[in-house]
């Protein structure tokens, strides 16, 4: 159940509204859906200066105006491949110039030292992980190989638990004096001690909600005592690497921890919210029609996907399974924010490409309907589903851009 009463009062309203660093969220190739969790918590916590970047944006200097880059979960190899050497340079330049990189799960693996193709173009942090098969004894290897792992050259990266883990926070990083924090883990790394990093939290143990994928003993051996969260300075900037998903919306203490990092980054310097200008100001009747068209198309898509959502359909794309419910997740994020946009009153919106947005949404609905027809006829629909997921991310980040732009404008008005 969603957290409705999370206490976000640790950050004052004034600070939330006044201090809003430009935050980028990576939504490009390889990103799964957990970047939506960043969206939800930033929204909830009042950080509205949010922008969405894919690999093309990064290669076109989109990191330049940002202060923070959030890289969430997904397929690390796909992220690395799509960014390539040039993307890696952009990222390095961003951090060394003072930027803050926060990587969770796949975003945590990305900058870690590796000899693997594509990943070896990053290597920002010299640290080894404990959850790799070369650290296992011969008898231990087959125990994990059948269960939960992904190939890594001659080795494999393996995962011993899912859901909750208990972390021990290092001195100076304790929230309200508490040494322990509970956080959710879905495939993120456990790091071995290294001089290249400052440990912030280590894996301490498990809870009743921990799902063991291997024998508890092996899980303990792999995780306990190893580093869950680490920090590294690089030039004027920093990287924060999180094994667990601190952005999971059901873990407000973890979310606040992230917010503190973002806030502290600026050392309390106020960062006035800039008014956007995308060159396309829309208001009045045109705006109402635009919002109505948006709502129509998101609704049509929602309905088309609900026609597939009886849990019994899934697609294998690459190495991962995708369900219609995943499409619903994106659409629900959009749907909830449309209501806010509709109630926006008579102010103008600055939009980059309103017609393009509607047209892409229509495209999503068309593909969903075609996919449903194909499923009903017993045809293979993997190809359609693959295209769909790609376009869905783009459409979602487009609409969220409008949403956060609106939120920023409201913030400016409320401060005036």
């Amino acid at each position: 159940m969603a957290f409705k009463n999370s206490n976000m009062s640790l950050i004052s309203t004034r600070d939330r509204l006044s201090y809003s660093p430009p935050i980028g969220i990576y939504t490009g190739s390889g990103a799964s859906h957990s970047w939506l969790w960043f969206v939800q918590i930033l929204d909830r916590m009042g950080f509205y200066n949010v922008h969405f970047v894919d690999e093309k944006d990064i290669l076109s200097n989109a990191l330049e105006p940002l202060h923070v880059l959030l890289m969430s979960g997904g397929d690390t190899f796909a992220i690395a491949e799509s960014l390539g050497a040039e993307g890696s340079d952009q990222l390095r330049h961003f951090i060394e110039g003072g930027g803050l990189y926060i990587g969770t799960c796949a975003g945590a693996y990305l900058p870690l030292k590796s000899s693997m193709d594509f990943l070896n173009q990053f290597n920002f942090i010299n640290v080894k992980i404990s959850n790799i098969s070369r650290r296992l004894s011969e008898p231990e290897r087959p125990l994990v190989q059948k269960v939960a792992c992904s190939s890594y050259g001659c080795d494999f990266v393996y995962h011993v638990v899912r859901e909750e883990v208990v972390l021990e926070m290092a001195n100076g990083y304790q929230a309200n004096g508490k040494k322990e924090m509970i956080a959710p883990l879905y495939g993120g790394p456990a790091m071995l001690p290294s001089r290249d990093i400052e440990p912030i939290a280590t894996y301490q143990g498990f809870t009743k909600r921990t799902k063991f994928l291997v024998e508890k003993e092996l899980a303990q051996k792999t995780l306990v005592g190893n580093i869950a969260v680490a920090k590294k300075s690089m030039g004027k900037g920093h990287l924060y690497i999180f094994g667990p998903h601190f952005e999971h919306p059901h873990y407000p203490t973890c979310n606040l921890f992230l917010a503190e990092i973002i806030r502290k980054k600026q050392n309390g310097r106020l960062c006035p919210i800039q008014k956007d200008f995308y060159g396309h100001s829309v208001k009045g009747e045109t705006l109402r029609n635009f919002l109505r068209d948006l709502k129509r198309e998101v609704s049509n898509s929602r309905i088309a996907v609900s026609g597939m959502s009886d849990f019994t359909i899934s697609w294998l794309i690459g190495n991962k399974y995708y369900e219609p419910e995943k499409i619903q997740v994106f659409l629900e994020v959009l749907w909830k924010r449309l209501t806010y946009l509709e109630s926006g009153g008579d102010g103008a919106f600055d939009l980059r490409d309103p017609h393009g947005m509607i047209s892409r949404l229509k495209g999503i609905t068309d593909v969903l309907r075609k996919t449903k027809k194909g499923i009903d006829r017993g045809e293979t629909t993997n190809g359609l589903a693959e295209d769909l997921f790609l376009n869905l991310k783009k459409v979602t980040s487009d609409l969220l851009t409008v949403y956060f732009s609106r939120k920023r404008m409201e913030s400016i008005r409320s401060q005036a």
């Binding site: 109505r292 709502k295 129509r296 609704s299 049509n300 929602r302 309905i303 088309a304 609900s306 026609g307 749907w335 609905t365 969903l368 309907r369 449903k372 027809k373």
Partner: protein
């Protein structure tokens, strides 16, 4: 209107294909409660434009037992009176969750159109893909077009398109409670169908209180006289017509309307082994019986159960009132299925079974005096309770329904207000 409501009314002008949205005024609800209380008021407001009003009861789509009712309010083409017809199954709940509490359809379109009502959006679409098709094909076409088999469809068939006096508005593939020839109104407006789908959330004023009350009510109902009863046969038995042996050989399953404790519908297999449990490979193995008097009407002609149900299926496809067909067929001395089917087009005559009141005679009287039946139907149509179940369940008393309404909305309804609304809609 904050609770148990989408807080929206849409006004659809078929003449211009434009739709306008209005907030549902809380004062309107305070004075008229819901369902027929409000559709009647809306009808008056727009009466010069010959409207068809779709609505739901205040409690429709909640955990209140039997909260399945959707209704159509319009001028009965046969009597000239403003009447109400129910649609249940999943139609009522879908309208409630579609983002609108009420839909006012006014004017006439020049060319055939359909209404697509979804998530608070009302669109008028060209009906070229469905006009001319029977009800079943129309429902299938819309569901395929929009990509969801859960879309609920109020549709007319050829009877409605040809503006027959006995044109019936069907719900998906099945008969609704329309006994007023509302299909003719749809046809006159060139409105082929209304498609409904939505995924709203209804807020509740005192959520735990409301749910607790619903649970207690349900517990009481489960101990009542209709507990364990199933199917259309139980309903006909309650009005003295035993169809058990006649129907039993083709019964597949009994089904409830949304959240209705007693299944009042029976699915028969005509083309398939009724004992089959897995999914039939036949495209159209049978029919859902939801119309008591339609079924009894064909039985009276001496037809076998299979022939009677097959004819009911044809009536549903054609979009014609089965009661009218059976009564007028009998008058014309037609008793064979093929003869009766040919009789659909051009069906004319005066019906003895035509309802005289405001509420559809689709629902049996179960031996109640007329004024008591009328009052009970009024209560059902206001609060959104299945009209047949409302007569089976004295546990759903007016006091209980008012209590639920207050827990759900916080609006302080009283029995005096209910009395006034009943009086107003019964005028």
């Amino acid at each position: 209107m904050e609770y148990l409501s989408a807080n929206k009314i849409t006004i659809v002008d078929l003449g211009t294909s434009k739709t306008v949205q209005k907030e549902l005024d809380e004062d309107l609800v305070k004075e008229n409660i819901g369902g027929a209380g409000i559709t009647a008021t809306l009808y008056e407001e727009y009466q010069d434009e010959d409207p068809i009003i779709l609505g739901t009861g205040l409690l429709t789509g909640t955990l209140a037992p039997a909260s399945a009712l959707g209704l159509i309010t319009a001028k009965n083409p046969l009597t000239g009176k403003v009447c109400h017809a129910p649609f249940t199954l999943y139609g009522g709940v879908e309208l409630k969750y579609s983002g609108f509490d009420y839909v006012v359809i006014k004017g006439k379109s020049q060319k055939p159109v359909y209404l697509w009502i979804h998530d608070g959006v009302a669109d008028v679409h060209d009906a070229k893909d469905v006009w001319g098709k029977d009800v079943w094909s129309s429902t299938e076409t819309i569901r395929e077009l929009m990509g969801d088999q859960l879309i609920q469809v109020l549709a007319i068939g050829k009877a409605g398109e040809s503006e027959s006096d006995f044109a019936h508005v069907c719900i998906n593939y099945w008969a609704s409670g329309d006994r007023w020839g509302f299909g003719q109104l749809f046809g006159q407006k060139k409105l082929k169908l209304v498609a409904l789908r939505g995924m709203s959330l209804l807020e509740i004023a005192d959520a735990e209180g409301f749910v607790r009350e619903c649970k207690e009510l349900l517990s009481t109902i489960k101990k009542g006289p209709f507990a364990g009863k199933k199917g259309i046969g139980e309903l006909t038995a309650a009005i003295g017509e035993d169809i058990g042996k006649w129907l039993e050989p083709i019964i597949h399953r009994h089904l409830s309307c949304f959240n209705t404790p007693v299944p009042t519908n029976t699915f028969v297999f005509l083309d398939e082994d009724p004992k089959l449990l897995k999914e039939s490979e036949k495209k159209e193995p049978g029919f859902l019986l939801s119309d008591i008097y339609g079924l009894l009407g064909f039985k009276k002609l001496g037809l076998s159960a299979a022939d009677a149900c097959a004819l009911l299926k044809e009536c549903a496809k054609y979009g014609i009132d089965a009661v009218a067909v059976s009564e007028l067929s009998q008058k014309a001395g037609k008793k064979k299925p093929d003869e009766i089917k040919k009789f659909f087009s051009g069906l004319k005559g005066a019906l003895e079974s035509l309802g005289k009141g405001k509420f559809s005679p689709w629902c049996p009287k179960f031996g109640l005096p007329a004024n008591e039946w009328d009052r009970r139907q009024a209560v059902a149509y206001i609060f959104g309770i299945h009209p047949i179940f409302a007569l089976m369940s004295p546990e759903l008393s007016e006091e209980k329904l008012i209590e639920l309404a207050n827990l759900g909305t916080g609006l302080g309804f009283t029995s005096e207000i209910l009395d006034k609304v009943i009086a107003d809609i019964s005028k």
